[in-house]
């Protein structure tokens, strides 16, 4: 378990102080004198929370007669509380969610259809189509992208260099990866693996599958992969695990179970390359304490990567001030001050003018350059429905757990794939 450093404590303190500045009063205070309150809730680490609080502070300063209240906390605790509040019709006006969960929230009638607030209150006319559709569920605009990201292979060049792979080229293929990873493993004197085991990541499987021409879901939310395709993917990693090209099961499980960035294979100094999301590069560098390089995920017949909303802003269907809530959302995604405050931590701005502005002012431009690179060089294949259907979150967990059983040798690849198909069916069926 990662402990809190002195720095983390200072950040939390700073975020709390900033929160107080925005909040004015404590959470839940309705405000007096005709002041309308808009409650915003999100879960994240201290650094990101501090940035969001600063952005909300700026949004509040752009209007009068409203008060923007921030509530945040650790993922599980906050999400449980907020969902219980939403169920009781007393939740925050705005809630930050993600593509695994939005389907279930819409299914539970917790999210407001924002279509009637666009383009009047929320402006997205200049946005990339992918960023707009990324907030849609069943064709309706139930959420708005907080900013875009994609997946990224991050690596420590000092560890790849001994294998003659100082620079990993973005046009590499899945078939290149096992050999390259094994070379890194051998060149390190078998001390480290080439790459962190990603067999437990449903979203990496999705990229792999898409690069082979497949898709995870069709437009109706039907799960498309077969047990054979899942088995192929797990066999791919199984082979690398045996040769030492990828990390052992216990290292991979450590990250899969904690989702703690400090437990990834790069941070643990157990591998030279990991797969993660592009907007997390600075955070991964911080926990790794190393200047990292990056490249795309490998390709197949086509690129499997896609650009998607990093996170989503959703307005509660019970909000008493939906118009104001939409104004706050618009401020967060289209406001210059908010974009400056967020520094790309919720993904790169989808508003092109803000993208250029933040990129120009950023000390570290790599995240912006990377999104530009994958867009312009076509390292992505567009995906219309990036949001998983209801039950997607459970399926994500089931994929990781079953892959762990396969990696630890508790299940054969074939049995694991067959079990996962049952679990996926159950997860999706139970939420319908």
């Amino acid at each position: 378990m990662a402990g809190l450093s002195r720095r983390d404590l200072l950040r939390i303190g700073g975020a709390t102080a900033l929160g107080s500045a925005v909040v004015g009063c404590g959470p839940g205070d309705s405000g007096g004198g005709g002041v309308k309150e808009v409650r915003v809730a999100w879960s994240s680490g201290a650094e990101r929370s501090a940035a969001i609080v600063k952005a909300l502070d700026w949004v509040q300063s752009q209007g009068t007669g409203w008060k923007v209240t921030g509530e945040y906390g650790a993922t599980n605790a906050l999400d449980t509380r907020v969902k219980a509040q939403l169920a009781a019709g007393a939740g925050p006006d705005i809630y930050q969610t993600h593509n695994l969960d939005i389907g279930s929230l819409v299914h539970g009638n917790a999210a407001l259809d924002l279509t009637s607030y666009i383009p009047g209150t929320i402006q997205m006319s200049k946005w990339d189509e992918q960023a707009i559709t990324g907030g849609r569920v069943q064709g309706k605009q139930y959420s708005i992208s907080t900013g875009s990201n994609t997946v990224m292979a991050m690596y420590d060049p000092n560890l790849t260099k001994p294998a003659g792979l100082e620079v990993l080229r973005p046009d590499w293929h899945w078939t290149d990866l096992p050999g390259a990873a094994e070379e890194i493993h051998k060149a390190s004197g078998r001390r480290i693996a080439g790459i962190g085991d990603s067999s437990m990541e449903l979203l990496t499987f999705q990229v792999y599958l898409r690069s082979q021409g497949g898709e995870l879901f069709d437009a109706n939310g039907t799960f498309l992969p077969t047990a054979t395709e899942i088995g192929e993917y797990w066999n791919y990693w199984q082979g690398m695990r045996k040769s030492g090209a990828c990390t052992s099961a216990d290292i991979a499980a450590k990250f899969n179970d904690s989702r703690d960035i400090s437990q990834n294979a790069l941070a643990l100094k157990k591998a030279a390359i990991i797969f993660d999301f592009s907007n997390r590069l600075p955070s991964v560098e911080e926990v790794t304490n190393t200047k990292l390089s990056s490249t795309t995920y490998p390709m197949g017949q086509r690129p499997g990567m896609y650009i998607r909303p990093s996170l989503l802003w959703m307005v509660s269907s019970h909000s008493k001030n939906p118009e104001l809530a939409c104004r706050v959302v618009n401020g967060l995604v289209n406001g210059e001050g908010a974009a400056d405050a967020l520094t790309g931590q919720l993904g790169v701005p989808d508003n092109p003018a803000l993208f250029a502005r933040v990129r120009a002012g950023a000390a570290d431009k790599r995240q912006y350059d990377y999104i530009d690179l994958v867009r312009t060089k076509k390292y992505v294949t567009e995906l219309k429905d990036v949001n998983l259907p209801p039950g997607g979150g459970d399926m994500f967990t089931a994929f990781g757990t079953t892959a762990e059983k396969v990696a630890f040798g508790q299940l054969s690849v074939a049995d694991g794939a067959s079990n996962f198909m049952k679990l996926a069916d159950k997860a999706l069926h139970q939420q319908r």
Binding site: S104, I251, A253, T401, E404
Partner: protein, 308 residues
């Protein structure tokens, strides 16, 4: 006879008044029991027959939750297996250790009071986050245990991240917290008549024979009590699994105990109906095991009133 009946009739109004006063005094408890225990239990029973995702209105689905649990939920089966293993090792381990330490601490020696307090401390810590962090520091890859093993040239595994060992780390944590049953045994040991032990000594019984033939039979009601309490507690264990595994029950579901899976279904996946069905199944299983324990106790528990 008639006088007696009349006298009783005369007493009735007073008895009624007493009953009413008793009811008034009991009211807070009764209201609490109905509102906070029986009411939620009844609601949970109703929800167990519904598809209730917290964000939606409950929809009646009959026995579907129960049949789905038993027929097609592989994680449920994992959680049942883990919990059975946990109960089967933890209960005898904890009760046995508690009895052994209680016997040792019942002897007269210097610093007895200090040792009695010291062995009780782990039970006071409960399932705190601090304890989980400590436990992780001991059993993780570079933890204290592996550092010690390293001194002997042994490379230990990452006990918490390896599904072969992770559950046993939880078992060890539970057994380590043996203070409460130990205290009960200690109290029982002090109630054993010295005369019986002296008589056995005069008859030439060795310390082991005295323990097996005098002490243990007289302690069986307390062994039974501790076994019943520990079985119930072990079936319901949640916090230790939650804090040590970070709430996931990993790796590979190896620490997914029943209550943790129930919690995850209810408060992570928001399947309240499903979680309610799990809660009722747990209640029925615990009731059945406790009833079985009571029936079996007739054959091995010795109550000293049998001597009367």
């Amino acid at each position: 006879m008639m006088r007696l009946i009349r006298a009783r009739r005369r007493e009735r109004p007073k008895a009624r008044g007493d009953g009413l006063i008793a009811l008034v005094f009991l009211a807070p408890w009764l209201v609490g029991m109905v509102v906070l225990t029986l009411g939620p239990m009844a609601i949970a029973l109703y929800l167990s027959f519904t598809d209730y995702g917290l964000l939606q209105t409950p929809r009646w689905i009959g026995l579907n939750n129960y049949s789905s649990l038993v027929r097609s939920d592989l994680s449920f089966i994992d959680s049942v297996k883990n919990t059975v293993v946990y109960v089967l090792i933890t209960v005898p381990g904890k009760v046995g250790l508690a009895l052994g330490v209680a016997v040792l601490l019942n002897a007269r020696f210097r610093g007895r009071g200090f040792y009695r307090s010291a062995v009780y401390v782990p039970s006071l810590l409960g399932a705190s986050v601090a304890l989980a962090v400590t436990w992780r520091q001991i059993f993780t890859d570079n933890g204290l245990l592996n550092q010690v093993l390293k001194l002997f040239g042994v490379k230990g595994p990452d006990w918490i991240s390896d599904p072969r060992f992770a559950l046993y780390v939880l078992v060890l944590l539970a057994i380590w917290q043996f203070g409460s049953p130990m205290l009960i045994f200690l109290a029982g040991l002090q109630q054993i008549p010295v005369a019986l032990l002296e008589a056995a000594t005069i008859d030439g019984a060795s310390p082991v024979r005295r323990f097996l033939s005098v002490t243990l039979p007289l302690l069986t009601p307390l062994v039974f009590f501790n076994v019943v309490m520990q079985v119930i507690g072990s079936f319901q264990v949640f916090s230790q699994a939650y804090v040590v595994s970070g709430g996931t029950g990993g790796p590979a579901n190896s620490t997914l105990l029943y209550s943790l899976y129930l919690y995850n279904q209810g408060f992570v996946s928001f399947r309240m109906g499903y979680a309610a069905a799990m809660a009722w199944m747990l209640l029925i299983v615990i009731a059945a095991v406790t009833a079985a324990n009571f029936i079996l106790s007739r054959y091995w528990v010795f109550y000293d009133d049998a001597l009367d």
